[in-house]
């Protein structure tokens, strides 16, 4: 079962990459762009087929390794393509 972990910087942690992307997009002539935030996704293919257990496993992985909770928050989506 596929599980997607999305890791973003916490609010309050400066995101220079997001800012630079916003800046670059504006430079390319794209208008009407507010805040831009950049983060990471990790797609995991788990043997687990129970959604709740898959989520719990991914959450443990995120806490242990995939995110640094000093600076990052994470989000888990189970299933999908």
């Amino acid at each position: 079962m596929k599980v997607t972990v999305t890791v973003m910087l916490k609010d309050g942690v400066l995101d220079p990459q997001g800012k630079a992307i916003g800046h670059a997009l504006a430079g390319l002539g794209f208008a009407g762009i507010g805040e831009v935030r950049a983060g990471k996704v990790i797609e995991l293919d788990l043997v687990e087929t129970d959604p709740a257990r898959a989520r719990a496993a991914a959450e443990a992985m995120a806490r242990k390794l995939l995110a640094n909770t000093v600076i990052e928050r994470f989000d888990i989506a189970v299933g999908g393509a």
Binding site: Q17, A20, I21, H23, A24, G27, A38
Partner: protein, 734 residues
């Protein structure tokens, strides 16, 4: 199953005559896999079919050359039982399509060429040519290429210590990314690629094989109809972490007696490595593709043989050493698989899923490889330049030149390259004419440089080829090193055009003359042809990577001026403005022949300068190149944060004296100018006093004063301003 036909062969890049030769060699229609093997082995890239006849003219021997061209990299003895192993290689096309990964994998590839011979890589350099800064694409390419070179080199922990950058609209659709690696090994522990020992195991190590960069020809082939296939990228993604492990694991294995032969899997991966190893050793090779570590499922024999997945090596082991070798690679968490053995058949046979997918005699594959004497047409050099008036004066011209993209500070670039890792970097980028890297545990050091002036080569490829070699020799000399040998990277347009082939032939001729005159042989190199976009070629660019040695690293001199020294110009000045940067940037013209190199004078002057450096007389030294004498003085002033007062030059137009690009010249800063002038006179070497260092700015002979701060602001403006906010590339690590 795809039908093999002359039409398909053409799509694979084999012309009808070449395909007929394939049929004759095999006595039957090739399988798809066989066609793939022939097409890559007979490609320009692997066979040098257009360039081979010319490359033969380059001198390749000297008493200190251990291995010249033909091995994975060149090997020269550098004293104390040590050898330096080095080579330069291009990754031009991939770097335009995907600048970050293209440049990164270029660095990875050249590193493997060097450590496959048993050397620990100790330095990287890169020679880069980009399109016009006004072209919006250029900025993206520069940003990605610089990040990619840094991303890979920094991660593997090899310092990037030098290089060069030019801009010209001729590179708009075709930038050049030439990467050079230098390594050190004991001179009696060099590993070669010729396989030997029938029955010996053939071992695959490194990363798994995927469908990366499978031969471009197939991409264009409609017969390979599956959509997914056609859309596969030709660009590979580099994995510098795996490369770092591969370096350590290979060096660990090389400390044992297990290896008979070893070769990296470069272009055309498994095909070229296995064919070359067996071919060179005069043995046969049998491969079992089922044993190849695979990243993807359902790969065909064709795909596996042509995959260009990175970070892989092929090794022939002594019998019975498999378990020990496997343990080393498993410790480093790398794949290890015995995928075949050597045979006495003289053939390469490839088995996959129970079927023989290829069975080709190796000797004709090599001996009957196409070789072309392509027609050449050498354009006459431009007519002499008539005198050009100075429209602006010395001071304004200096400020403009020192700020122009071809002469401005490259600090923005080299700041992104780890230049100090390894703890041996004596002269970092910008500190001296050549980078100086001490050899761990020794007092001696290597001096390293890359050089080429494409605008000279375009105007007169013969003079430009000689100039590139001479400048490399000069840059090594200017730090006090004894120049030993070069690697080259011949970047040219379409060789089927006589005018391009003429440039190639003339450049080689010039290089060969310079190499001979300077005892500076070519020990390795790379040819990159078809550098054209929409029929318009790049400037002919024979990039030269030079290597020299200093017996005492502490004797190396840099550019930095200190106060209270006499500035002496050594070498003859005629005021040559043809193809100079002054002419282009100030007078707005690209005209005239390039400055000629007097090779005998070059050598005499250089040997004199080196001797004075080794005698300890010279405190700072800089060769005179792009921009001429005044630019060279300004660069010394900036490096040392020290000004100078300059006296009037000899009787010629001041702008021709101060900005002319006559070759074979150095500026030396010495405590006793009279003594140096006397020593030069005694040897019949032209030398003259330029002025004296000190103060916070340059005072020009016409009385104009320019502060170091003003110079620095001009010098350092271009890159940061141009690249500001260029983007947010991939990972940069820590």
């Amino acid at each position: 199953m795809t039908e093999v036909s002359p039409a398909l062969a053409r799509q694979f890049g084999l012309n009808d005559e070449e395909y007929a030769r394939v049929l004759a060699i095999l006595g039957r229609t090739p399988s798809l896999t066989e066609l793939g093997i022939f097409s890559v082995m007979w490609s320009e890239h692997c066979s040098y079919k257009s360039s081979r006849v010319w490359l033969k003219q380059l001198p390749t021997t000297a008493p200190w050359v251990i291995h010249g061209p033909g091995e994975n990299a060149g090997v020269v003895a550098i004293g104390e039982g040590l050898a330096a192993i080095f080579k330069m290689e291009s990754h031009n096309h991939p770097s335009f399509i995907e600048p970050y990964q293209g440049a990164a994998t270029g660095v990875g590839g050249i590193l493997r060429d060097v450590f496959t011979m048993g050397a620990r890589p100790v330095a990287n350099l890169n020679a880069l040519r980009f399109g016009s800064p006004d072209n919006p694409v250029t900025r993206r390419v520069v940003d990605g290429v610089v990040r990619g070179i840094g991303g890979y080199g920094n991660c593997v922990g090899v310092p990037t210590v030098g290089g060069e950058i030019n801009f010209h609209p001729a590179y708009d659709g075709n930038p050049l990314v030439n990467a050079m690696t230098v390594g050190i090994a004991p001179a009696d522990r060099i590993f070669l690629s010729a396989a030997a020992g029938v029955g010996n195991p053939v071992v695959y190590v490194g990363s798994k094989t995927g469908r990366d960069g499978i031969h471009g020809a197939t991409m264009a082939s409609a017969e390979f109809g599956q959509d997914a296939e056609a859309k596969r990228p030709t660009v590979q993604v580099g994995d510098p972490f795996t490369e770092k492990l591969l370096i350590e694991a290979c060096l660990e294995l090389m400390a044992t007696d297990a290896i008979v032969a070893i070769q990296d899997m470069g272009a055309a991966g498994l095909t070229s490595s296995s064919v070359e190893m067996a071919g060179k050793g005069g043995v046969g090779i049998a491969l079992d593709l089922d044993a190849v570590p695979q990243r993807e499922t359902g790969m065909s024999a064709y795909e596996m043989m042509l995959s260009e997945s990175q970070e892989r090596m092929l090794i022939v082991l002594r019998p019975g050493r498999e378990a020990m070798a496997r343990a080393i690679f498993e410790k480093w968490e790398l794949d290890f698989a015995v995928i075949g053995h050597l045979t006495e058949s003289g053939r390469i046979t490839v088995r996959h899923r129970g079927a023989v997918e290829a069975d080709i005699p190796l000797a004709p594959l090599a001996d009957q490889a196409p070789l072309y004497h392509r027609p050449i047409e050498v354009a006459p050099p431009p007519p002499p330049l008539e005198p050009v008036a100075d429209p602006v004066g010395l001071g304004p011209a200096l400020l403009r030149l020192i700020a122009c993209p071809d002469l401005c500070s490259r600090a923005w670039v080299w700041d992104q390259y780890d230049a100090t890792v390894g703890g041996q970097t004596v002269k970092r980028p910008g500190a001296a004419d050549a980078a100086v890297v001490r050899i761990d545990g020794h007092t001696r050091a290597l001096a390293l440089t890359t050089d080429c002036t494409p605008r000279y080569c375009a105007a007169d490829p013969r003079a430009g080829g000689a100039q590139a070699v001479a400048e490399a020799w000069r840059n090594l000399t200017a730090v006090g090193a004894m120049p030993l040998a070069i690697t080259d990277n011949m970047n040219f347009g379409n060789p089927e055009k006589p005018a391009i082939m003429g440039q190639f032939a003339a450049a080689i001729e010039g290089m060969a003359a310079a190499c001979r005159a300077l005892d500076f042989p070519v020990v390795s190199g790379n040819v990159s042809l078809y550098n054209e976009t929409a029929g318009s070629p790049i400037l002919p660019t024979p990039a030269i990577g030079g290597l020299g040695v200093l017996e005492d690293a502490a004797g190396a001199v840099g550019l930095a001026l200190a106060p209270g020294l006499d500035l002496v110009l050594i070498g003859r000045t005629a005021g040559w403005l043809g193809q100079s940067l002054w002419l282009r940037e100030i007078a707005g013209r690209e005209a005239g022949p390039p400055p000629p190199v007097d090779l005998a004078a070059e050598r005499r002057v250089g040997d004199f300068v080196r001797a004075r450096i080794l005698a300890g007389d010279i405190r700072a030294c800089h060769d005179v190149s792009d921009g001429g004498v005044l630019v060279a003085v300004a660069e010394m002033a900036l490096a040392g944060n020290t000004g100078a007062r300059l006296a009037a030059g000899p009787a010629m137009s001041p702008h021709a004296f101060w900005f002319g690009e006559d070759q074979g010249r150095y500026i030396a800063a010495v405590a006793d100018g009279d003594a140096l002038l006397a020593a030069a006179a005694a040897e019949g070497i032209a030398a003259m006093r330029l002025g004296r260092s000190g103060g916070a700015g340059l005072t020009l002979p016409d009385g104009v004063a320019i502060s170091i701060d003003e110079l620095r602001a001009a010098h350092e403006r271009f890159f940061p301003a141009w690249m500001d906010g260029a983007g947010a590339g991939p990972g940069i690590g820590g």
